[in-house]
Symmetry: C2
Amino acid sequence: MNRTGSTKERILGAAETLFAQRGFDGASLRQLTSAAGVNLAAVNYHFGSKEKLVEQVFRRRLDALNAQRLAALAKVAGKPDTRLEDVLDAFIRPALELSHEDEGSLFMRVLARAFAEHDDGLRKFLSENYGHVMRQFTAEFARLLPRLSKEELYWRIDLATGALTHAMSGFGIIQRKSDVSERAHREQTVQHLIRFAAAGLNAT
Amino acid sequence: MNRTGSTKERILGAAETLFAQRGFDGASLRQLTSAAGVNLAAVNYHFGSKEKLVEQVFRRRLDALNAQRLAALAKVAGKPDTRLEDVLDAFIRPALELSHEDEGSLFMRVLARAFAEHDDGLRKFLSENYGHVMRQFTAEFARLLPRLSKEELYWRIDLATGALTHAMSGFGIIQRKSDVSERAHREQTVQHLIRFAAAGLNAT
DNA sequence: GAAGGATTCAAACGATCGTTTGAGCATACG
DNA sequence: CGTATGCTCAAACGATCGTTTGAATCCTTC
């Protein structure tokens, strides 16, 4: 039972963990509030409903994550000597750093579940709030891969993001290494993902 | 409400559709039996429990799918002039054909959900019953990519399967085209996937 | 056509779900 | 001190969950 931070923060933390482990339907508010050490009614008091809690779980991470992604993209977008790998780095590194924090290490799993859900409400929420991020990255990919048709480009970006989401959702448990090598290991992981995605995007 | 086939088959069909749309927890036996046009108690009578029904939904498709994959792999494995693309074709084409059947078009979505679940019981079931398929493909990839370390090979296979699962789980609805061009479109899709995966696996 | 196993059926079981309620407690402000 | 205000609490709400039951019905076999 977590006893640090405000009630809202404890609920959000427990929700992230349990949504990652058991899914949005599978994790009940009773398991969730029990793990957070708060009263059952606190969820509806602070968030209004379970569905709105789900939204806040996403917002808490994605606001910062996408801001970092856009900041990193801004440093390379449009520059004449920018390589494909630089853009992928801007996309991948913020997510990977999130996966290696003590807090937030399970969030990418929540995100992977959201993609698998194919839930219209959730997809609409993500598209409305964070769709512009993917659009900016897509525009930069299009600039660096001018020989690809629009259809081919969308295909490959979809495949690349699928690979990255799949890989990053497996983290937090499997890929966690010892503290001394964590930084080096993370850098190695970034390079693995970038090499794979760059080659796929750049395929003949 | 489906009224064709035996009770067991109608349940399996409705279960596949609803599991794809709403998830294993989200789809209730009442929705499921109602869509199948059978009595609620029929699930427990014919399958024993909801969990065993889930297993049968997987078995019904994966037995045939993996048999096709292994048969296609056997035609190229170990041959001196086999290309990476041939092995990927053996892996991808059977799954894509399943995605374009009227029946079974939603199964890859069920499979994508299972991957996102990270459920130990389900992963153990899949590993015990179909793990040898992935092992045979991995061995052939290792033969064709001798310059990759074992760690690098596993990384790339994981990323490639993630991309393919992600892409194929989006089918059945989005990518369905008109009947006349369906065969040509499917072939085009196979080539997209193979090109991307081959380039990723083969990256410098 | 009677017997008997296989299957279907409506109904109910206890458990658990998300949500609501109203009393109780805390802290801050007049 | 008195009283708002924000928050927590136990308890209960109706709904829905997976499962079980026992009678009704179908279907085969002699």
